[in-house]
């Protein structure tokens, strides 16, 4: 067998690492450089410090050698190794994510992202901020808007054609309007449904009326019929 091919990697702080080519190619970025014949001299990696690069290389080494085994032991052993490997403080974790992203090391990116995901799950925004030392840069209005946007699942916007007055309405109410109900069912992709024939004032009245009908329907089985309802299925006049 010929001697093992090696590549040289240089970190941002000048540290030199000699690595087997197969190990280095776990990084798609480096693989590309090798294949394009740019790897004769040391490959400079200005975005990765020596400390982090050494960790990345460690990861790649462990994962190249383990690709063949077939026992349940090796799958679980590798998982245990990964768990131990990723047990680092958050500064290092952050750097590993950025390095894995930059160097395009798929397994490491998956591992780091999954770690962060698990840390975020089942936490409140305040807890997440505290954990990652993130500053809340929302104004109260902006925060309210995001919360409201998050309630969109049951809201759709009805927009007047001429003036952009959007009314956010509960879906159950909008369904009172058969026309809109059909539009929803046929083509819901537009989050704002334009109503060409209706001005804002009339639309407001109609929505008010729908509200009452929905509330009435919730308390009894037969909603009461009123004049406004008759308008709904006719073309609405300005």
């Amino acid at each position: 067998m010929s001697s093992v091919k090696k590549v040289t990697l240089k970190s941002s702080d000048g540290e030199i690492f000699e690595v087997e080519e197969t190990v280095a190619m776990e990084s798609q970025t480096i693989k590309g450089l090798i294949e394009d014949d740019c790897a004769d001299n040391a490959i400079p990696l200005p975005n990765v410090t020596g400390h982090i690069l050494s960790l990345v290389i460690q990861y790649c080494k462990e994962h190249t050698s383990s690709s063949d085994s077939n026992s349940s032991k090796s799958n679980e052993k590798l998982k245990a190794w990964d768990t131990q490997f990723i047990n680092v403080d958050l500064n290092v974790l952050f750097d590993l994510i950025m390095a894995a992203n930059y160097l395009n090391v798929k397994g490491l990116l998956d591992l780091t992202c999954q770690t962060v995901a698990d840390m975020i799950k089942e936490k409140t925004p305040e807890q997440i901020r505290a954990m990652f030392n993130i500053v809340n840069d929302f104004t109260p209005e902006e925060e309210e808007e995001v919360r409201r946007e998050n309630a969109w699942a049951f809201e759709i916007s009805l927009k007047n054609n001429n003036v952009v007055d959007t009314f956010e309405v509960e879906e159950s109410m909008a369904k009172e309007l058969q026309t809109i109900k059909n539009m929803i069912e046929d083509n819901y992709t537009d989050s704002v449904i334009p109503l060409h024939n209706v001005t804002s004032d009339i639309l407001e009245l109609v929505i008010e009326d729908c509200k009452k009908h929905v509330e009435a329907a919730e308390s009894e089985s037969e909603p009461s019929y009123s004049l406004a309802s008759k308008l709904i299925d006719d073309p609405l006049k300005a």
Partner: protein, 333 residues
């Protein structure tokens, strides 16, 4: 139950080493359930390690298989996260609509094409959940290649359901790709996905794609059983009664057989009925045997009839009434 597992969600041992108390400066986070890990920090992220500045595609990857609740929480952390996660929030809406179209509720007529369309749009925005649902429809429609491609995308984003479905598609392929199936089953099992744990146990038991290992198989059967998977409960009972992979225990074998029987496992109902019969509990025995018979277990019918002949007419009626009113306890699919 919020979490079905009774062990650490991702690995067997303690996931994080705890630091000696004197080193702890940062806040400690209490666990909500026994399955959450406590992580002790000696530092919080400092300058130059700004998690709010994570690239948008990385954030999308992190949140790809989040539930709506988690996605909402993450979106409220800071403006850049909110911005980054906007496509995933849109995907949630599409997922919501897709489910409605698929099952035809919420005042909407069932429409598989529209469901698929919605799911695909959600998948395009990076939602692993939408990818899995789109894959399921393609699979139903017989377009298995497309289904597998979507399962793979979800699996690579760390979604356990995607990993499970991908593994099963490998198991069912012609020819089966057992090694890769097992790799994915491991990932999903370690993440706590109950069905994957059962499938993994089967592979270990039968030596498919992995060296045969009865002890490990039994261990995973037990985990799946504890997670509510009925077929695993039945297998666990068999392991306990034969001493294969688990230390022989008549008591635990009976316990798990009853659990499986109560959740509708036909063979378990038969076995449990027989066991009750041998213990002298005629009434209960014959109810289970009746249930098993109704589900098609012919052997159960013979024994059942033997016992029924010994009972009075009123007892027989009572048995039928109990069987008619019986309902399976909830379980994981």
């Amino acid at each position: 139950m919020k979490q079905k597992t009774t062990w650490p969600a991702r690995s067997d041992g303690s996931r994080f080493l705890s630091l000696p108390l004197s080193k702890i400066k940062g806040p400690k986070f209490p666990t909500r359930t026994s399955t959450h890990q406590i992580r002790f920090y000696d530092t919080r992220p400092s300058d130059g390690h700004d998690f709010s500045a994570l690239p948008y595609d990385v954030l999308t990857k992190i949140a790809a298989s989040f539930s709506l609740q988690n996605l909402r929480a993450a979106s409220l952390v800071c403006k850049s996260w909110s911005e980054a996660l906007k496509p995933l929030r849109e995907a949630m809406l599409l997922l919501h609509w897709g489910k409605r179209f698929k099952h035809g509720h919420g005042g909407v007529r069932p429409n598989l094409d529209k469901a698929l369309d919605s799911f695909l749009k959600g998948a395009a925005r990076g939602s692993a959940l939408a990818m899995v649902d789109a894959g399921l429809i393609y699979w139903e429609l017989g377009q298995k290649d497309k289904a597998v491609a979507l399962y793979r995308k979800a699996a690579e984003l760390g979604d356990p359901a995607g990993q499970c479905n991908l593994a099963i598609s490998f198991l069912q392929a012609e020819p089966p790709n057992l090694k890769e199936a097992v790799t994915w089953l491991y990932q999903a099992s370690i993440a706590g996905h109950v069905r994957s744990q059962y499938q993994l146990a089967l592979c270990l038991h039968q030596g498919q794609g992995v060296n045969c290992n009865i002890k490990d198989a039994a261990r995973w059967y037990l985990k799946a059983a504890e997670g509510g998977y009925v077929r695993a409960m039945y297998n666990v009972s068999l392991c306990y009664s034969s001493g294969e992979g688990l230390v022989r225990s008549h008591q635990l074998a009976r316990k798990w057989m009853k659990r499986a029987a109560d959740r509708g496992h036909t063979k378990a109902q038969f076995e449990h009925g027989l066991a009750l019969f041998s213990e002298g509990d005629m009434m209960k025995a014959v109810v289970y045997l009746e249930l098993a018979t109704r589900a098609g277990e012919r052997a159960a019918a013979h024994v059942k009839n033997v016992i029924l002949q010994r009972l009075s007419a009123t007892s027989r009626d009572r048995v039928m009434l109990l069987a008619d009113n019986w309902q399976a306890l909830p379980s994981s699919r």
